[in-house]
Every structure is written in C-alpha cells, then in structure tokens.
Amino acid sequence: MHNTGDVKVPIGPQHPALKEPESFLLTLRGEKITAASVKIGYNHRGIEKACEGRTYIQDLYLIERICGICSHSHSTAFAQAVEEIAGIEIPARAKYIRTIVAELERVHSHLLWLGVAGHEIGFDTLLMYTWRDREVVMDILAQLTGNRVNYGMNTIGGVRRDIKAEQIPQVLKGVDTLEERTKYYIKIAGEEPTLINRLSKVGMLSYEDAIRMGAVGPTARASGVQRDVRKDDPYAAYADIDFKVITHNTCDVYGRTIVRVLELMESFKIIRQLLAKLPEGSISVRAPRKIPAGEAVSRYEAPRGEDLHYVRANGTDKPDRVKVRAPTLANVQAVALMLEDRYLADMPIVVAAIDPCFSCTDRLVSINDADHNSKNTFEWEKIHRDSIEWYKKRGIDFAKLNKTF
C-alpha cells in the first residue's frame, strides 16, 4: 500500500462517523475518493414479517419502533392506512393533535441533525448547544405524550391523549424559546466561515440527479425539487394550515443545512397555527378490531422525507401485508454519487447530510420468536459470570470492590 496508489478504506459497519451500522467501501487516491459503494441491511429486524403475525393494535407499537427519531411518522402513516381501509374518519381534534406531535417531532429531529452535522465536521460546540436546546422540545413531547421517544400517541381511530388547555401556554413558551435559538443557529450558519467552508460545494446533487435518483425530503428540496408530501398529498391537518415548502438551490450540504433550519421556523409557525385553531371534540372514534379486506397506500412527510406505508387487510384482526419504505432508502443511493471525487474528510458530513436512519430502512426478518431460547444465544448471566472470572484471574475482584463503596 502506497500513498500514490489506491487505498480501499472500509467505513463501517462500526465506525465513529456512523450512528448505526452500515458500510461504505471507499477507494482513495491520496485524500480523494475515487469510488464509493454502499452496503446496508445490518439492521434487518423482521418487522414487516412480524406485523403479519400480530393484531393491528400490536402492530402500531411495533411500527412505532421502526425508528426512534421518526417514530410518530411511522405510526401515523400506518394508522392512516388502516383507517383508510376501515373507512374511519377520525375527529378533527385528533388530526390536529397528530399534526402537532408530528411537527414537534420534526423540530426535535432537525435539531438533532444539526448537532450530528456539527459533530461530523468536528464542531462539537454546535453539537452541545443544539442538543441542549433540543431538550426543550423533548420536554414538551414528554409532557404531551408521556414519553421522550416512542410517543405512543396514535391509535387506530384517533389519538390516545388529549392536549389539555393548561398545557398549551407551556408548549407555546417552549416554541418561543426554540424559535429564538433557531434564529441564532441560522445566523451562525450564515456567519461562521469554517462551517460554511466545510459545507458548501460538498456532496453535490444536481436537480436532475435528485429527480433521477428519487431523492426525498430535505435532500431533494436542497436541490431545488419542490417535493413535500404535506403540500402534495395533504394528510392529517396540513390542508388547513398555511406554510411554505422550503427549497434551496445550492444542491450541496450547506443547502441541506439551510433547508432544515428554515424548516424549523416553518414548523414553529405550523405548531402555533394548530394550537390556535385546535378544534373541540372527541379525540378518537371506536375502530373495529377486524379490519375489512382492502388495501391502502399512506404517505407521510417524515423529517427525513417521504415515508410510504402500504397495508393490505384480509378481513381478520391481523394485516395480510405491511410494507414500509422509509425515506433513507430513497436517499441512500444518491450518497455514492455525492461522495465520488470528494475528499475523505467530506465523507462523514455527506453521509450525515441525508440524515440517514438505517434502522428505518432495513426493518425485517430475524428468526421467529419461537426459537428465542436457542442454545446459540448467550445467556446474559453466563457472560456476566465469565467476565467476573476473567477479572478474578487477573486479580480484580468485583465482589470486594463493591463492598468498599
């Protein structure tokens, strides 16, 4: 291996730049990437198959756990599809509450992304500040839904929790704080030269390529593609709400950053409108346990882009087929294109810029639950015992150590 020749660098499945397992094989000439290939599929958990063996209610929580960050996106998309098959019209208040949680989720996801992007380019200060501010929206979500992640807000036929009148001022206060902070980050994104230099002209994806590669979400919108399911195919309460689809024309990572921070501002606007217009009434209607045969395609604009759920019912209480196309699967194929002819140093931020969520993407099959206690599985206790023995041989006794504390 010589510096002048080609070096193959494996990035992943385990690598500090990656928050989830995926694998990139980069061919380097010096610092330049001459070829890149992507391998995904490490997070295959068998969710689509598992859905076929569970009831709709159980599936809702399973689907919610496809992704930790856009959990509400998946469960809403699934619930919408089931409601469409069953012919249920959910109450207006439920639609509004779903939308409020959806937008709060977008806020938390975009702030999280901004921090991760900072970390990927070595700007840890940005990470610390954005994640500190993200706690505000996490607290709001915890208050409204009862949990910080996996909100469990949706049920077939509506939502499970109401937003109480006394909670609204708290939410609005949090939104004000966040808006002020977001304005600050927009200012920083426009002023800090090290940030701008690391982001602009990096990970270019032209308008034509964005269309050709089927990019979705902020990745597509930063290439000037006006594509947003909230506007194109309004669901929940989006038809009643006034908001802009943010696009940018620089086609690079900087554009994706700007699109996301400006979308934050739109989200605040949407949340305020929704809370002001929140209709009175019930929050759910009774849904049958057995869903009549039929099929439906549900689309949802997750923070990362279009989330597509296809559900097919066969008249029982379990679905016949559930198909999830998460936004990252649409975007990840453009990554190899964006990486070519760039520097190795750009790899982390280019990958991060599509806001990848490989858990969403991979889902599916593992071995059946029935085989759970197979002989191959390591017993936790055995590992625990082995490790204690291992240390004992080297003269460290945890049993003694613990007593001293």
């Binding site: 494996p10 700007f123 200060t125 500040y129 800090e192 090290t194 790899m347 982390p348």
Partner: protein, 313 residues
C-alpha cells in the same frame, strides 16, 4: 551531582511535568466543557484515565512492526520532556541553555509528530496510515509559520538562545509589543502541533477513527497521551517564554505563580479556539497556512529585521 538529577527527575523535571501536564489537560477539558455549557470532568479525571490505560492490555497488531510500534511512544515522551529543560520558565534562565537552543527546542517539538507518523505508519492499518500521512502533510504546513514567528523574535534579540532572549526582552521592556503579530500566528499554529480543532485533521474521529493512534492501546497509548499533554505544556511554555517576557525578576515563588498563570492563559486560548471552529479539511488547512500564516509570519520577520536595523545602529 545530586542537584541535576533532582532537577531532571523531580523538579522541574519529569515528575513535575507529569502532574503539571495532567493539570493542564484537566484545565483544558474543564474549560472546554464550560464553554459548551457542560459540567466537564472532575479534577482527577486525566490521572484516572492514565492509570486506567496503564491497567489495560497492550494489543499490538500482528502486521505491525513490533519494535517501532513499541518504541515510538517512548521517543515522543522523551523528546518533549527534553525540550522542557531548555525553556526559561520562571526567571531568565532555563535549566540548560546554550547558543542555538531555540533550534533544538523547535526540533525536539517536531520529533513527536514524526513518532506519530512512524507509529501510525508501522501500525499497518488503513486508518493509522491515513492519519500518519495526514500528520506529516500537516506538519509541513504549520511548522514554517511557527518557526518563522519564533525566529523573528530571536532575530530582534539577536541571539539563538531562549535564555538570552528572555534576558534581552526583560532588559528592553516593551519590545515584546513588536512580536504581537507573531504571537497570534504562533498561538494558532500551535493548535496544529497539538492536533486540536480546527487542525485535528490527523486524528479526526469521524473520518479516520483516531488516526495514528487507532491501533494503540494500554500503556503505549497512555504514553502517547501523556506526551501530547506534555507537548501542550511545553508548547505553551515556549510561547510564554518568547512572547510574554514579563515579570521575570519576581523571585522563585512569585515567578512560579506568574509562570503558571501565563501557561493557564495560553491554554485558555487553546480551549477557546478549539471550541470555536469546525475542523478544517486538509487542503483548506494547507491553503490557510501557506497563503495566510506563512506570509504574515514572513512579514513579522521583515518587521523585526527593519526594527533591528533601526534600533541597534
């Protein structure tokens, strides 16, 4: 006979340097954390990290060159510690000095980077080798402006000895003002030497895991980390000696306190600068050093040459 041994091993030698560098790392980390609105580590954290690493297994990759792999951390540690003895810390005299020790100190401060390179290169892992090459590439970029600024200060003092420079600047109070431009450049390029953001390209975690140190573990890593800490102390001490020649006649105890304050101030600047920026890319870093810092450092040299002609006719 006993005094030099005491000086080298205990004070202000290795033992002092060990604890002082631990304290410096703590200060840097704590301040960095506070700047980011975090709590930061407790005071004993660097020491605890060091002891923890000592207790860990040394894993040497099969393909690595065993001898080079093991020797490099020791080399790094020795060279930075040696440099410390030639720098006047409190008072005008270093422990050892001779005419030309500026060059030796600068050279000794370059050796660790070479050891990172060799250690990384002979680890034979992709990430280590990329990190190693990056270390060396970056070295050529920041070393020139850093050397020029320090040599510019030496030019004005008309000596190649750090101790005599200290004596000159305390004899001519106010002359340090001429070197302010050089100080700014030296402080920034020092970040390159210490491999800290925005110049932490050789160990950029999100790109190449830990660069040269990817394969290092246990005691060897502990030695490397110690030498990086000591390098921070020695580098800031050098800058303090060259660019902050104030109150050098204060006597041993007051002088010591002043010295610590100077180093603390310089480390504060390091922490602030590393929290302020995003990491640069290698090409951007090289461009910045050659297009901006090198010409400015050269300007400093010219200024000092003219001053020297004007002031000491």
């Amino acid at each position: 006979m006993l005094m030099p041994i005491f000086n080298i091993l205990i004070f202000p030698g290795l033992l002092f340097l060990f604890f002082f560098s631990m304290l410096a790392e703590y200060y840097d980390r704590k301040l960095g954390a506070r700047l980011q609105n975090r709590v930061g580590p407790p005071w004993f954290q660097p020491l605890a990290d060091f002891i923890k690493l000592l207790g860990k297994e040394d894993i040497i990759p099969e393909e690595a060159d065993n001898r080079v792999f093991k020797l490099m951390p020791v080399f790094a540690l020795t060279s930075v510690s040696c440099a410390f003895f030639y720098i006047p810390l409190w008072g005008k005299n270093a422990l050892y000095s001779f005419n030309g020790d500026v060059v030796v100190v600068l050279y000794l401060l370059t050796v660790p980077i070479l050891t990172y390179f060799l250690g990384g290169w002979y680890s034979r892992s992709v990430f280590s080798m990329i990190g190693a090459v990056r270390s060396l590439t970056q070295l050529f970029a920041y070393e020139v402006p850093l050397f020029m600024t320090i040599l510019a200060a030496a030019l004005l003092a008309d000596t190649w000895s750090l101790s005599k420079m200290a004596a000159f600047y305390s004899a001519h109070p106010g002359y340090w003002v001429f070197n302010i431009l050089g100080f700014v450049i030296a402080q920034i390029t020092l970040l390159g030497k210490l491999e800290k953001v925005p110049f932490d390209i050789p160990e950029a975690e999100t790109e190449i895991v830990a660069g040269s140190f990817t394969e290092y573990s246990g005691r060897l890593l502990a030695l490397f980390r110690l030498s990086i800490n000591i390098e921070m102390v020695v580098g800031t001490s050098l800058l303090a000696a060259v660019f902050m020649p104030w109150w050098l006649d204060a006597g041993p105890i007051a002088g010591f306190i002043i010295y610590v304050l100077k180093v603390a101030a310089l480390i504060s600047l390091v922490s602030l600068l590393r929290s302020l920026f995003a990491r640069l890319r290698l090409d951007q870093m090289i461009n910045l050093c050659w297009r901006v810092f090198a010409p400015l450092a050269f300007l400093q040299v010219i200024i000092n040459l003219i001053l020297k002609g004007a002031l000491f006719k």
